[in-house]
Amino acid sequence: MSTPSIPVDPPSVTETLTPQKTRRILEAALLTAQEPLAIGELRKLFNNELSAAVISKHLEELREKWHDSGIELTSVASGWRFQTKPDLQPYLERLSPQKAPRYSRAVMETLAIIAYHQPVTRGDIEEIRGVSVSSSILKILAARGWIDEVGHRNVPGKPALFATTQHFLDDLNLRSLQELPPLEAMKSLIDPDNKQPELPLVEPDDACH
């Protein structure tokens, strides 16, 4: 089939391109690029017929042109890109309100058990929670980078042992597991006049036993 709109290859640039057109091309390329564009990339727009210095000069002019708009031309590690200005962020976020998703109770409890009891097997978690732990729960936490397998317990079946990761600490703004909320506060939740032997709560500073 004939494709009537196949563009004719543009003529050699240096002879025909005005500075305005050069900037229009640079602008369009930067506005449509998915990634920042390095000067070397941008030179391809003009069959490498323009020097890096010339392109840089145009970029500075573009930056100036966009100065008081809602977006700005910036230079980042891998090149140049347009990006929104921070003051507009609160407005833009109204378009896609990030309904903060929540983890289910099962996920949170599993995470808590791994955090406070690590390393634990799936069986340990099931024993503590009193219900079976679906592998999707562990997958969610592993995909988030919060837990990983650190070994296997030497019992029949060699179950995997899970522990929390450095990334988990980072995400929760903790410097170490010691900074996890102390669990003693939980005692208050427990029936005060219960005659059970004290529940064996884990104490963060109770280093050994």
């Binding site: 004939s2 890109r81 949170m108």
Partner: protein, 271 residues
């Protein structure tokens, strides 16, 4: 390739035989040398397209198709196709059959029945299809002329300054605390259940030791102690190793030369 270019190129070949048989009268732009068959097939979208081309090329009134001639020409094409493209020829053969059927019906006297349905010209259905196809063929050309995203223009998409990362649930320490509380509340009702009385920091070191063992089968005992470790850390690490051994998470052995090794439990990576 443009249709007409293709046809013209084909027509330019001065070959006067089809399947070894001389063609008495070669329709100027109809004859296709066997070598060009693939080009030919690429040029036409199918039997309707070919028929349409023949009709257009001969400037025939679409309702006045000389069936005999058309069928003959059509057959010439199909004959060529059958040489090595039998499968492709099938659709064209079907069209030939249709043409012959129409031709034969036109030879029959018009039915005396005045029924409107039977009275129809046998060519009518073919004409309807040809026109409908031609209309779509033209529409496709028009569609192709419309500016198309990516081909003729690009959609602008600027980087959002602080792109909110993939929305992952936020978890806060309070959430962990709450989760733990829920577990404990249940544990209370579930007496026989024993929560191990483990020290958190000891547990952390246990994880650390296991991590070190992950990539190797075994490690010299001393390597598990960081050179910069404080006394307390050394003690806890040591306790962690003992605890791990107790919980059957690792084994410790000593070689002839006195080196102590800590071994990961061989799992064979069972599920």
């Amino acid at each position: 390739m443009n249709d007409n270019q293709a046809i013209d190129a084909i027509a330019a070949q001065p070959i006067a035989r089809i399947c070894g048989e001389p063609l008495l009268e070669i329709p100027q732009d109809l004859y296709i040398p066997p070598d060009a068959l693939e080009v030919f097939l690429d040029t036409f979208q199918g039997p309707l397209d070919l028929l349409l081309y023949l009709i257009r090329k001969h400037n025939l009134n679409i309702l006045d198709i000389p069936m005999a001639e058309l069928t003959q020409q059509y057959m010439a094409y199909v004959k060529m196709m059958r040489i090595d493209q039998l499968e492709l020829a099938a659709e064209y053969l079907l069209m030939t059959a249709l043409l012959i059927e129409i031709k034969s019906r036109m030879l029959l006297p018009v039915s005396p029945k005045a029924d409107s349905g039977d009275e129809r010209d046998p060519r009518a259905e073919l004409v309807r299809r040809l026109l409908e196809y031609e209309q779509m063929k033209k529409a496709a050309e028009r569609l192709n002329e419309l500016p198309q995203a990516e081909r003729d223009f690009s959609v602008v998409q600027v980087w959002i300054g602080q792109k909110a990362a993939v929305a992952l649930p936020d978890v806060h320490l309070d959430d962990l605390r709450t989760a733990w509380a829920a577990i404990l509340a249940r544990a209370k009702m579930n007496r026989h259940h024993q929560i191990k009385r483990d020290a958190l920091s000891l547990r952390a070191y246990m994880s650390q030791v296991l991590r070190e063992l992950q990539d190797r089968e075994q490690i010299e005992f001393y390597r598990l102690f960081s050179a910069t470790a404080t006394v307390a850390e050394v003690v806890v690490t040591f306790l962690a190793i003992l605890e791990l051994a107790k919980e059957l998470l690792l084994t410790i052995s000593q070689s002839q030369d006195g080196t102590i090794y800590v071994h990961a439990i061989d799992t064979g990576r069972s599920a």
